[in-house]
Structures are given as structure tokens and as C-alpha cells.
Amino acid sequence: MKYSLVKGTVATAMLMSVTFACNDKFLDVPATGQLSSTQLTSKAGVEGVLIAAYAQLNGRGYTQTASSYNWMRGSISGGDANKGSNSGDFSAITPYETYQVLATSSEAGGKWNAMYEGISRANATLRTLATAGSDVTADDKKRISGEARFLRAHYYFELKRAFNMVPYVDETVDYGTGIDKVANNVDIWPKIEADFQYAYDNLPATQSAVGRANKWAAASYLAKTYMYEAKYSQAKTLFDLIIASGTTAGGTKYALVANYTDIFNAATETNSESVFAIQAAANTGSSDNANPDLVLNFPYNTGSNGPAGCCGFFAPSFELGNSFRTTAAGLPLLDGSYNTGANQLKTDQGIASSAAFTPDAGPVDPRLDWSVGRRGLPYLDWQNHPGLDWIRDQSFAGPYSPKKFVFYKSQDKTLTDGSSWTDGYSAINYQIIRYADVLLMAAEAEIEVGSLETARTYINQVRTRAANPTYWVKAYAGGNAANYVINTYSTAFASKDAARTAVRFERKLELSGEGHRFFDLVRWGVAATTLNNFLAYESLKLPVAYAGGKFTSGKDEYMPIPQQQIDYQGTSVLKQNPGY
């Protein structure tokens, strides 16, 4: 008995020691398929971290409205377009056209998070660069830090004009080191200027890849920042330099392209007008590289006769359509009379596709049919827009479809991502800044601090390009698709005010649907007047969509600081914007 007890104990102990041999090392299990930050200090590693900072430009991983394109906040809130689709689908956007945004808005939260994600990636680039290995040269460091700071400035620029007061976090703070304690009580324009200035000072004019920010992109963005700060003389100085010597990252001298639609065509988008763009690519293994922010913005139920078939969002507004009306002399109706009587564009609202309809025959700016898809006219190379049949709910969305950022039939599945639920994932770049924008900003700066005549020249450059009849939209049967009449401003502006009115209207026409309008209106201090006038007109056309719409001065210029962020960081750190 005793012996066997000993034997048992020994045997047990032996057995246990066998398994105890599995010591602590057994429990060290590394991560798979992912990297630690120390593995990224090589040149390729740092470059990869920088690439990820670029990748966030389109707001991927967050809501469709979080992109740097700002189709919701810049264009829908600016009156270029209405939400479209039908009343219930993605109803979180509707408050942005009626200015009834709540602090809990998911879209405000999405924009905030997407842009700070970009900032965190830019900061990660700078942190990684600080520990970079010997294969990263001093020139590399200048360039990489320049690009990283350019991108950081871009993301902050986005946040600044969306939310106004936002916390500024740079590469010196991170999770666990006080990042959540940075308050939103400081105006960050100087920080944005500093980053763009650094990029301007350190980036080369020509880059190895066309998608990179270069010196002149930084200069343009810095000048744009000055415009937002109303520092017109500093802006003008830079614009003079840019117009004289600016080149794209590929080394091409900045110039307007002859064909306006080349800007929105994946095959021709990298051109002399591209100052800085979100580079989109299709069929890369993830639709996140192919405009995930734009997939909703196509006509509805087109079948194989039209692009993507979904989802009828981002319908150009009646008011925008009317804005393209010209006088017989080919100039816009700067007095606002385009919204009255026969000046209004004739539409097929309320008319079935099977019923007859003749499109408007009056004089219009040719940019109308590059920007607005309307019944009876060619919709790129697809077919004539059939009207109601391509509209999801006309009483909510109106008669128009978006036309910029729509791919051609000839590009379907080659420049669009064929692998997903819609072909709307395309390779079309969005131009964050294009040269026409630079010229029009330069014109504004000239009007404020320089020469009205120089301003007129700049405006006329933009109009002249649009006036080239070679590129006007043609009916499939031949001949111009509509009665296009456009001319330059042939005489000097009567006054600074007249010049202002002209340049601002030119921006509306030239850059419609490109995410600028709302921010321009706020920047000019005319948002309340302009948008309440817009609502008064548009709500008669689309009463359901614009029900309850009212722009409140002093509140609706900025989105609310997302309530969830205030909940996370505390009211002592994040102060809500006025009015929310």
C-alpha cells in the first residue's frame, strides 16, 4: 500500500513534469498577418504608412458623405443638388438640405472620424519617419514629411470649414499620451497655414508619382487657406506665382484643358488642370479604392441602358438648372431672374417617360449639360435620359440626375469595379483643387486687393474654355443638344460689387456639384440670405424634400461637434458649436 502510494506519487510527478516542460514560451503567440511599428522603419515601410494617409482622402471606411469630395455638405447643403433618391433612403442626409442637423447626426460623426483617421495616418507617417532607418535619405525625409504635413493640413482644412472649432492633435500626442485631452478652444488656421507652408517649402515641383502632392499643390492649397481667412493680398501673391510657374506633380504647366468633360473622365483626368486629386482606381481588390463615396450618385433603375442603376441620390436642384440660363448675349442672369417666369428651365417634372416632352429651347450655358442629366438629352454615351423612369421618386428628388463623376458606357467594367453590387465604383478622380478653381480664387483675390481687369481675364479664361463649341454636348443625331449661348465678359466690371457677383456666380456654374458651393457661401458671409432664398424657391418644387427647411445664421454655417465625441472626451474638452 505504502509502496504503491509512493509509486503513484512518482508517476504523477513525472507526468506533470512532462507537461510543465511547456513553459512560458508556449504562451507567446505572435500576431499573424499584421506588423508592428518597428517593422515599418525602412523606406518602403514609411512610404507605405504615407500611402495609407493618402488613402483616407475619400473617407473610406466611414459614411459615403465623409469624403473630401463633400458632395453632401459642399453641394447639397449649398443648393447645388438635393438629396435625391426617395424620402426614406439614407434619410440621415435630409437634415443637411433643410438645416435641421442634430448633434447626434451620424453623418457629422462620420466626417469627423474619417478626417481624424487621415490625420492619425499623417501623424503616424511623421512618427515613423522620426525613427526611420538609414535607407531613408535626407531628401526622402523632406519629401515624405512635406507630403505628410500637406495631407494633415488638408484634413484639418476639411475639419475647420466643416466644424470650425476642432482640437488640433499632431504627431507628439497619441493614444494614452493625452490626445483626448486636447481642447477645441483654439483657432487652427495658423496650424493649417504652417503645414502647407512647410509642404510648399520642402516639396519638389515634380514628383515621381502623379498622385503625390507637390510644391504647387501646397502653394495652391495655402492660397486657398488664405482665401478662407480673407487674407487676400497673401493669397494674391501666391496665386501670381502659381499662375506664372505652377506645374502638376507630373511636371506639366498648369492650364485649363480644352474639353471640360476631360476633368470628369477617368481616361483623361490626369491633365494640366489637376492640381490635387483623389486618385481612384477600379478592380484593385477592394471597392474602397474606387470612389466608395460616390456609389449612390447615379440615376435609378437604368437597367443595362444606363450607368450603375443605383440609387438616385445627388439630384441637381431646380435652382441650379435654372442658373445655367443665359441672356441672348451668352452671359448669366446675375440679377437672379433665372428663377422667374419663362427664364426657368423647362423640366419633365410630373410627366411620365411614356408621355411626350420637348426639352427647353432657350439659351443655356453649355456647362448645364456637362453637369446636369436631364430628360431628352444624351446621357454621356448611354442614351437619351428618359426622365421619370430613371428617377426613383420624382416628387422627392426632382427631374435631374447628376452627370459629373458618371462613367461612360464604353468604360463599364474596365474603369469600374465589376466585382461589387453596383458598377458605380469607378476610377474617376475627384479634383480637390483644379486649375479653374485656382483661377477663380485668384480672380476673387484680385477683386478684393488687386485689379478688376486681371480678375476679368481669369474669369474669361474659364468661360472661354466652356465656349469652345467642339466639345459641347451633341445630340446623338448630330448638332448641339441644346441652345448653347456663352460669351466672355467683354467689358470691364462696373464695380467691385459687380465683379464679385460675376466671379461668385462663375464659381457656382463652373464648379457645380463639386462640393464647393456651401463653403463658398459661408466664406463670403452670404449663406443665410442665399440659402433661405434657395429654400423659398426649391421648397415650392419639392415640398416634401425641403419641408421645414430654414437656414439659421450663426448656427448652420457649421456642423455640430458630434455628440458622441463630446460624450467620449467630456464637455470640458470639447465645446459644442453655437446653436446646437
Binding site: 507537461t19 499584421q34 435641421q100 481624424y116 482606381a281 478592380n283 479604392n289 417634372q349 458622441q564
Partner: protein
């Protein structure tokens, strides 16, 4: 079907041969044999154990047993369900026939707990067992589903979809995730038991509290379900053969009620009238409704054709069908699609169109036998079950071989092995994790716009098929975006998906001395899976997939467990001592996966399509990944002391180390103690003869948990994937890789611990006619691992670290009452009532984190999250505005607190804070999906050979967020797709006594954009789970045909469901415990009818 069966045979043949070779005889000194009978004859399945040792056996179908005997004055303990446990001195006998006395108390059985077995009488923790016969009566593919309503304190939320896992929760929700119980099958831990056929199961034990479960350590914090499979008996005998067969059909029943085509048109007109009434439509006309399908007159006119080419809303006279036939084209590569869709004025029943009466077949054939020195059980089984939704099919083929041999009188070796082939196609939503380290083992949950929900949304005027045999659909304008769900289901016909599982263990036991047994076991679970799917080009819908896609992928995984235990039992006079010590190391599951996809092959003939035959180039995509699993290393011990059968004291301690934690916090030590006092054995109770047995139990323990923790939580990580690249070179078709921070690590994370206390009372009275078990329990989880939401400024694409910051409380009462007896004339009955009360509450979150939200399935179409998790409230609580009625007049709107978008017929929300304004602050808690009470009544009646079984299950006190109403009740949600019959009861100026809001175009804060109480419904229900009538042939008849046993039965399941819930089925799970109970078109549990036979040779 047949080919896959042969494939299974091929893969397993080798294994079978290897396992069977060693059925042979080896030497043994002394053996006791005999037959155990009860008043009605032989007692199969009785347990015979040599007291004070691990040696035991059970009787075969004829009641025979054979047991090796050793030691002086050996005592055997005989126990069987339904009989009194007896202890008998063996003396010099070599043969011992025993007559058992009917006792029928559950307290007498042997229960498989921890790493050992114990007598039910001596159990000090909260332990429940389920008889296999009770499980088998539910014709489900998955044992989990059969546990519903069987054990007090176990909540099972399941669905009707074959082959999916269920949300099984033992005593509430201890953590924010990973709350699934640990399954231990033949000693091997696993988190998936989908491959186990119910007919192979011999016993199921649920360990509910720390005192009973903590021997299994950290993965057992959410309870343990111990399953043992059949093993045969160790006794020279002839081969026993059993066969169990089942055939049945499941009836999908009826879907919810919908508008018919005329009603839908009328209500579209009414919506316009309502818009005019509200002043949101400014002219008095009917232009533009449903894209003109119904004309523009003052009353709608149903068209004869919904779409002909690009014309719509046509009468028969406008269409020359033979001319259209020439233009008809559904293949866009041949030119523009030209569809011809007639109107179905009678209305299409889309629910009926996507469902079917679905057959179920199950066969299990078992062979068991043994010699004096070996035993085996081998079974072959198959189950073939169709889901009620088209092309949702499940089949399983399995082979089990359990064997055990004595190598010498002291050494035994054995193995339990199973291989299963499972094919599961057409699943809606997810199936739950397949293996190991998934922290999310939740039930299948439907996704937004799934085929069931789509059937509730698509207009009945649309037929399934067009005029020429192709598909019809919302390509006909005016009916918004639902896909043709029949086309979707039919497209799945050629998809493949199968998994092969090998599961089991091999062990050696060594009786060093008679009272000390060493055991070493190595077990594991290997699986490999394969799937492929074909995505058709759609043309019939308003939103079409216009690219043909082909996907293919495969994976494998392996989990293993290596366990070594020493078990010592000794009796000293009136004292009994048993000690268990052990060491265990395991890996929860390592594996790899690979897959790819491509588009547009030359032909879509499935025999042609492979990834290699798809269009070459960038559209071909691949993916792969690997995981190393979570590793654990543990040492544990348990000691039990029993004095005079009256006082029982048990102590357990386990030290666990897990690779999920950084070295500094890797180990945790978790003790538990429990004690019991058998009052009925005290002298002062002896004069109360009506008390057969009475025991008070108490237990207290701390359990660790890391189930919710990701494998890599300690690391800061960067990742690169296709979705974070960037086309820096402007190529339009290629990206450079980007590295983004994918995870912020936390090396400080440590074990969650839950403090569990349990007080229980077990009693049986009136000669065991009445017995009960009552438990009061509480589980306080501290240092709860919680993935802190990152502030946006940090960059939220990085996964947030898990930190130990929250706490949660679960408490409840479990009750089991059984009453049995005989009513006059040989009619016996047994009625069992099971009930569990549960209260779950988050008690704290991190400082500065007041709550966290979840959308719940995919309810992102509401502009704020539906679900909020906040201290003071249960997990996954619904949060939003409380609807106190509908505004009945403009005057009421004017007098009410300011509310955006308020108008007559719209929701009026409660001004909770009384500030005269409805704002975010007025939101409140609207309910919780966690049932407060679950229970069941099981009734068995026996008369001569007949038996009648029925079970009524009930789940009370839960709420459901019926998100599908957003689609079906609100005109503007997807205009043209809201077709619920509820609409007919909607508010009108002339019909104000209703809760259904006005049917109109406006989508705003006061209509359909907010989470509010309109969607919240009472989720309580009671369900007659089954009603079974069986007949067992008398032995007189059986002897003539050489059968041991023959029973036939007919059964109806889910016969009746009593609920107020308006959706298809009130059993609503979800993808995570922090967000469940949201109904987006659930796969319902419906009525089924079965016949079965069970026989033994």
C-alpha cells in the same frame, strides 16, 4: 448526395480499420457479471461502479453487465435513472443479478461533471442533466437547439434554419461577448457541436456555477455543457445493433398579411391625398405616383403590363405580345435588356414563393458490444434536412467509433473518434464560428434586405416570372428596390459548401494503485471547409448585379487539448475523500484560409466555371489568412470530502495561463468552494417519512474569463490590405500598399473574473413522487474586458484595445419540479416544470464612457443607433423615443411640446424631461431582448406500451425591435415597397383610433427616421415545442421477431405559438450579445410533422 456519402466513406475507411484492429482480449483477474432488472424487466443503461474507484460500466440493452472487481470487500454501486441507487457487498460472487426498486428520482443518477463522474447525491454545485431521450425528440440538426427549455437557467435563442448555431446562454450574459458555454465532448473542449448527431449522445450535463464549472477554468465562466457519447459495455456479449430513423416535413406556414395589388394602388393614392392634407403636396393631382403605373386619374387603375421594354403602366390593348416576343432579351451582352412584365392582379404571395414544405430525414445505425476486456460503439448516421426557404439545404454524414481496451489489469486505452461531413448551402446570414477562438459564437442572424425581408417588401402586383419565362421584378418602375427573392434563391442552386470535421480523443488510464488512477488524454478537432458560389447577372431588378462573379475558398483549422489527471479516491470509515489533480495545455484553434474570385467567364455553364476560366487580369482577386489560435496552460486540483453521507465539502482551484495576455498578466488563479448538508440523513428528520431526501447546497467561487478577448490584444499593430491602398501613380487600376494602424494594444489587460454564489436546495418527497431542485444564484463580473470606443481624434480604423473596466451583474432563480406517479388503471405520468428567472444589468463602464451603442443587425437606416448599453440597464437595451400616441389634429400639434416635423397622424413623442421640446435628451430605454423568465412544462403519459410526450416552452419578459416595420409600414422608406396590411389601419383624419401612423411621403423626425417605441414589441411567447405519441412493442412480440426493442412514434413540433409579436417568429437572436433582438426578417421556426422508429437487435 450519394457521391458525397461515398466520399465520406472513403475518407473514414482507413480510420475505421485502424480503430477496430485492436478489439481483442487480454488478461484480467476477476470479473463480476449479472443482469439488472426492474419491476418491468431488464434495465438497460444502468450504471455499475466499483465503489471508491474509477471503474464502472453500464448495462446493455438486456440489462446485462460485466465489471472487473478488485480489492478486499468490494462494494458495487448500481444506479439508473428512475431507480433507487443501491450499494451492495460483492463478497465472493462472480455473478450477481440485481433487482432495482423504482425510485425515479433524478437524484440517484451518476452525473459526468468536471474531469470525473460523481453521484448526483453528492453534487454540491449547480448541475443539471438532460436525458438523451428528451433531446432526441426534437428533430433538429443541432443539439444546441434541443437544449431549449430543458435546463433551468439556460436561455437558448434559436431559429428555424438548419445547420446554424444558436445563442445558448447559461445563467445570463457575464461578459460583452464570448458568452457561449464551453462544450466538453468526451473530455475535449470545443465551442462548436454542430457535427454531433443527437442519436450518439449518452448523457448531457450542464454545469452552471463556479463550484461545478471552474474545474474547467477560464473558458468555463459562461457555464459548461458536458456531453458524453455512447461507449458500449465491457462484457462478453453478442453485437447489439440499434437503428433510429426519422422522417418529417416542416411546413413554412403563412407569411404576414400584405396589401393586395388593388389595395397597394389605393393606398398610394391615399398617400397623395394625405400629402395634400398635410400641405406637403401643393397641387391637387395624382401625377408621378409609382412612376405612372396606375395612371394619373382620381382613382388608380391597375395596369395589365408593368414593363414592356422601356414602357410601363400599360393596358393589354397597348401590348402585342407576339411582337414583343421578338424584342424580348434578358442577356445584356446581346444588347439592351428588354423585359416584358405583366401585372399579377391577383397578387403574388412572395413568402409562399420563396418557401416550401421541407423534408427531413435522419438515420442512425449503431453497433455496440464488447468483451470482458474491451468495449466499443460504432455508429453511422446521416441527416438530410431542407430549410423551408428555397435552396437552403443541410446534410450531415457521420461516423463514430468509440473503443476502449484493457491492456492489462491496470492499464486501459481508449479513444472516441468522430468524422462528419456537413454540407450546408443557402444559409441566410451567418452560421456562427466554426472553430475555437471565435469570440462571436452567436446565432445565425439575418442581414438587412435578406430574402425573407425582401419577400415582405416586394409589391404583390409583380409576378415571379415575366411573360416569357424569365424573371419579373422591380425593373418595372414604381416599386423601388426589392430584388426578386425567388430569383435570388434559385441562383443558389449550384453553390457548394462543405466542411469535414474530425473530432475526438485518445486516452490511457493507469490504475497505479486501486484508488489512484492516472489518465492522459489528447484530443482535438480538425476541420477543413470548402465553398464556392456563382453570382448571376441580374436584369429583373431596379438595382442589379450586372457582373457574373465566381467565388471559391477553402480553409482548415485544428484545435487540440492535452490533459493529464490524477484521481485518488479513498474511504476511511465514514469518511470519503476524493482528490483530483491535473495539468492541461490546449490551443483553441489554429488554421489558414485561402480563396479567390473572378468575373465573367466565357460561359456561365457551372461545369466550365472556375477561377481560372474567369476574365484574366485585375478582376481576379485572391485572399488568404492564418491564425495561430489562443493557447492555454493550466494546472488544477479538486478535493472532496464526504462525512457520513451527510456533510460534503468540495474545493477547486485552477491556475490558467493564456497567450491572449502579455506575460505580466498572463496567469490567473481561480478558486471555488462548495458544501452540502443532507438534512434528510440527520436523525431529527428521520421521523418525517414523507421526506425521501433533502439537501442544502452552497457554493462560492471566482472564475476567470478571456473569451471576449482578441488573440492579439497585447500588441500595437499595423496592417495592409487592398482596401487601404492608394493609386498614387494614377493608373486607374492598381494601388500601392498602405500601412495603417489596425490595432492599439493593451499589455495591461488581465483576466476578467466573475464571482459566483449559489445556494440550492434539492429535495424529494413522498417516496420520490415529488422532487425539486431550487437554486438562487448571483454572478458578479468584475474587470470586464471591454473594447473602449476610441475618440475620433485617435483614428478609429484602429481596433481599440480591450481593457478591464466594466462590471456586470447577473442573478436569478432556477427551479425544477417533477411530479410523477400512477393514475388508476396503469396510466403513469410524469410532469416536469422548469423555470429560470434572469436579471442582467451592466453595473459599470469605464470612467468617461457613459454608454456605448450598437446598431443591431443592420438597422443603420434609422438615423440613430437602436441599441444602447449603459450601466443600470441590461445588455443590448433598445433606446429611443417613446411614442405616446399619434397627433390627432393641428391643434394638438400646436399645444404639444415642440417636435421637429410634427403633424397630424405622425408620432407624438414623450417629453421625458418636460422642457417643452422634444430633443435627443428625451430618448429613453424602450426594452431589452433578454427574457426575464424562460421555462417549460414537460408532460409524459404512459399507458401500457403507449407514451405521450409534450413540452410547452415559454420565454417571457423580452422585447423585440421589429425593424422590418421600417420597410413595410412607412410609405417613404422605400416608396412603393411598404406593403404590410397594417397600412390599412393607418391614421386618417377619419380614422384616429389607431397606433399606425399616417401613410404619407414625408420622412422626418416625426415619421420614420428615429428609433422609437413603435418598433418595440412584446417578445414573450409560449410554444408547444412538440407533441409525440409513441408505442413500444411488448417483449412478447419482440421476442418472436428477435428484436430487443421497437418503438414507433409520430410527432408534431412547434405545433402552436402563442405570442403578441407581429413578426414571423418571436425567437430573434443577433450577431453579438451587445446587439441582438432586432428583427430584420428572421428565419422562422415553423410547424413540423415527423414519424420515427427506434429499434434494437
Amino acid at each position: 448526395m450519394r457521391t458525397s456519402f461515398y466520399r465520406l466513406l472513403q475518407t473514414t475507411l482507413v480510420a475505421v480499420v485502424m480503430l477496430l484492429w485492436s478489439i481483442h482480449v487480454s488478461a484480467q483477474d476477476r470479473r463480476l457479471t449479472g443482469k439488472i432488472t426492474g419491476p418491468d424487466g431488464a434495465v438497460p443503461g444502468a450504471n455499475v461502479v466499483l465503489k471508491g474507484t474509477q471503474t464502472g460500466t453500464s448495462t446493455d440493452a438486456e440489462g446485462n453487465y460485466s465489471l472487473p472487481i478488485r480489492g478486499t470487500n468490494p462494494v458495487i454501486v448500481i444506479s439508473a435513472i428512475g431507480y433507487k441507487t443501491q450499494e451492495l457487498q460483492v463478497g465472493n460472487r462472480t455473478s450477481y443479478d440485481i433487482l432495482l426498486v423504482e425510485d425515479a428520482t433524478a437524484l440517484s443518477e451518476v452525473v459526468v461533471t468536471g474531469y470525473t463522474t460523481e453521484n448526483r447525491r453528492d453534487v454540491t454545485g449547480a448541475v443539471a442533466t438532460v436525458a438523451p431521450a428528451q433531446l432526441r425528440v426534437v428533430p433538429s440538426t443541432n443539439v444546441e437547439q434541443q437544449l431549449q427549455g430543458r435546463v433551468a437557467g439556460v436561455t437558448v435563442i434559436t431559429n428555424g434554419q438548419p445547420g446554424t448555431s444558436s445563442q445558448v446562454r447559461v445563467r445570463g450574459f457575464g461578459s460583452f461577448g464570448g458568452n457561449q458555454p464551453l462544450y466538453v465532448v468526451d473530455g475535449v473542449p470545443t465551442q462548436n457541436i454542430s457535427f454531433i448527431p443527437p442519436d450518439d449522445i449518452e448523457s448531457t450535463t450542464v454545469l452552471k456555477d463556479a463550484a461545478s464549472a471552474s474545474i474547467y477554468g477560464a473558458r468555463a465562466a459562461s457555464g459548461v455543457i458536458v456531453i458524453t457519447t455512447k461507449r458500449g459495455q465491457r462484457r462478453a456479449q453478442k453485437l447489439s445493433v440499434s437503428y433510429d430513423g426519422l422522417y418529417g416535413v416542416t411546413d413554412p406556414g403563412h407569411g404576414p398579411k400584405f396589401l393586395n395589388p388593388q389595395e397597394q394602388a389605393d393606398w398610394a393614392w391615399q398617400a397623395r391625398k394625405n400629402d395634400i392634407y398635410q400641405g406637403t403636396y401643393l397641387t391637387n393631382d395624382f401625377n408621378g405616383i409609382a412612376n405612372g403605373q396606375y395612371g394619373t386619374g382620381s382613382t388608380p387603375v391597375l395596369p395589365d403590363y408593368l414593363l414592356v421594354g422601356n414602357r410601363s403602366g400599360l393596358s393589354a390593348s397597348q401590348v402585342d405580345l407576339s411582337a414583343e416576343a421578338a424584342k424580348y432579351n434578358t442577356n445584356s451582352t446581346n444588347g439592351a435588356v428588354y423585359n416584358v412584365i405583366p401585372a399579377n392582379k391577383q397578387g403574388t404571395d412572395w413568402y409562399k414563393a420563396i418557401t416550401r414544405v421541407a423534408p427531413l430525414t435522419r438515420h442512425t445505425i449503431g453497433f455496440s458490444g464488447g468483451t470482458d476486456y474491451s468495449r466499443f460503439y460504432i455508429s453511422l448516421g446521416m441527416q438530410n434536412q431542407q430549410g423551408i426557404v428555397l435552396n437552403n439545404n443541410y446534410s450531415r454524414y457521420n461516423l463514430r467509433a468509440n473503443t476502449e481496451f484493457d491492456l492489462s489489469k491496470k492499464i486501459r486505452i481508449g479513444e472516441n473518434f468522430q468524422v462528419a461531413y456537413i454540407r450546408n448551402v443557402g444559409v441566410l446570414g451567418s452560421v456562427g464560428s466554426q472553430l475555437g477562438n471565435g469570440t462571436n459564437n452567436n446565432s445565425s442572424s439575418a442581414t438587412d434586405e435578406n430574402d425573407v425581408l425582401t419577400a415582405f417588401r416586394i409589391a404583390p402586383i409583380i409576378p415571379v416570372y415575366n411573360s416569357f419565362g424569365g424573371y419579373a421584378g422591380t425593373a418595372a418602375p414604381g416599386f423601388n428596390n426589392p430584388n426578386n427573392p425567388v430569383a435570388n434563391r434559385q441562383a443558389l442552386a449550384n453553390n457548394g459548401n462543405f466542411n469535414i470535421y474530425g473530432f475526438g480523443n485518445a486516452y490511457v488510464e493507469y490504475d497505479v494503485i486501486p484508488n489512484l488512477t492516472l489518465r492522459s488524454s489528447i484530443g482535438g478537432n480538425y476541420y477543413s471547409g470548402y465553398s464556392n458560389s456563382y453570382g448571376r447577372v441580374q436584369y429583373e431588378n431596379s438595382e442589379n448585379n450586372t457582373t457574373y462573379t465566381y467565388n471559391e475558398g477553402s480553409s482548415y483549422g485544428l484545435s487540440w487539448t492535452f490533459t493529464n489527471t490524477a484521481n485518488y479516491k479513498q474511504t476511511f470509515g465514514k469518511s470519503e475523500l476524493s482528490v483530483l489533480g491535473g495539468i492541461e495545455s490546449l490551443n483553441t484553434g489554429l488554421g489558414r484560409f485561402v480563396g479567390g474570385s473572378g468575373i465573367n467567364p466565357f460561359t456561365t455553364d457551372p461545369n466550365y466555371v472556375t477561377i481560372s476560366t474567369t476574365t484574366p487580369g485585375a478582376t481576379r482577386q485572391t485572399y488568404s489568412g492564418n491564425g495561430l489560435g489562443n493557447k492555454f496552460f493550466s494546472v488544477f486540483g479538486q478535493a472532496r470530502y464526504i462525512y457520513n453521507e451527510k456533510y460534503i465539502l468540495t474545493g477547486v482551484v485552477r491556475r490558467d495561463g493564456s497567450s491572449q495576455f502579455a506575460p505580466s498578466n498572463r496567469y490567473g488563479v481561480f478558486p471555488a468552494v462548495s458544501a452540502a448538508w443532507r438534512l434528510s440523513s440527520e436523525d431529527f428528520m428521520k421521523n418525517l417519512p414523507w421526506i425521501s431526501d433533502l439537501k442544502i447546497r452552497g457554493g462560492y467561487g471566482i472564475m476567470g474569463n478571456s473569451n471576449y478577448l482578441s488573440a492579439t490584444n497585447q500588441y500595437n499593430l499595423y496592417a495592409s490590405n487592398a482596401g487601404n491602398g492608394y493609386d498614387i501613380n494614377g493608373t486607374n487600376n492598381a494601388v500601392n500598399a498602405g500601412f495603417y494602424r489596425s490595432q492599439i494594444g493593451n499589455a495591461e489587460a488581465k483576466w476578467e473574473s466573475s464571482i459566483t454564489s449559489n445556494i440550492g436546495l434539492d429535495g424529494s418527497f413522498f417516496n420520490n413522487k415529488l422532487e425539486f431542485a431550487l437554486d438562487f444564484w448571483r454572478k458578479d463580473t468584475r474587470d470586464l474586458l471591454f473594447q473602449l470606443s476610441l475618440p475620433g481624434v485617435v483614428g478609429t480604423r484602429a481596433a481599440a484595445p480591450y481593457s478591464n473596466i466594466a462590471s456586470m451583474r447577473n442573478q436569478g432563480i432556477d427551479l425544477l419540479v417533477t411530479n410523477r406517479g400512477n393514475i388508476a388503471g396503469g396510466l403513469g405520468y410524469e410532469v416536469t416544470l422548469i423555470g429560470g428567472l434572469l436579471q442582467n444589468q451592466i453595473t459599470s463602464l469605464a470612467p468617461g464612457v457613459p454608454y456605448f451603442t450598437a446598431v443591431g443587425n443592420s438597422s443603420q437606416r434609422l438615423s440613430t443607433p437602436v441599441i444602447r448599453n449603459e450601466p443600470g440597464h441590461p445588455l443590448s437595451s433598445f433606446y429611443g423615443y417613446k411614442v405616446i400616441g399619434l397627433f390627432n389634429s393641428k391643434e394638438e400639434v400646436a399645444a404639444a411640446p415642440t417636435q421637429d416635423g410634427a403633424a397630424p397622424g405622425r408620432f407624438r413623442y414623450a417629453d421625458t424631461n418636460g422642457d417643452g421640446k422634444i430633443s435627443d435628451d428625451d430618448r429613453q430605454y424602450l426594452g431589452s431582448p433578454i427574457p426575464k423568465f424562460t421555462g417549460s412544462i414537460t408532460l409524459t403519459l404512459k399507458y401500457k406500451g403507449f407514451d405521450l410526450n409534450t413540452n410547452l416552452y415559454t420565454s417571457l419578459g423580452s422585447q423585440i425591435f421589429n425593424y422590418s416595420k421600417w420597410y413595410t409600414d412607412f410609405y417613404p422608406s422605400f416608396t412603393g415597397a411598404a406593403v404590410a396590411a397594417r397600412v390599412k389601419d393607418s391614421w386618417l383624419p377619419t380614422h384616429t383610433n389607431t397606433s399606425v401612423p399616417i401613410y404619407e411621403s414625408v420622412s422626418n423626425f416625426s415619421t420614420n427616421t428615429q428609433a422609437n417605441s413603435y418598433y418595440v414589441e412584446n417578445g414573450s411567447y409560449a410554444r408547444l415545442q412538440y407533441l409525440t405519441l409513441g408505442y413500444t412493442f411488448p417483449s412478447l412480440v419482440l421476442n418472436k421477431i428477435n428484436f430487443n426493442r421497437l418503438r414507433v412514434y409520430v410527432s408534431a413540433t412547434n405545433l402552436l405559438t402563442i405570442t403578441k409579436y407581429s413578426g414571423l417568429d418571436p425567437s430573434i437572436g443577433g450577431a453579438a450579445d451587445t446587439s441582438f433582438g432586432v428583427d430584420v426578417g428572421n428565419y422562422p421556426i415553423t410547424r413540423a410533422y415527423n414519424v420515427g422508429v427506434s429499434l434494437g437487435l
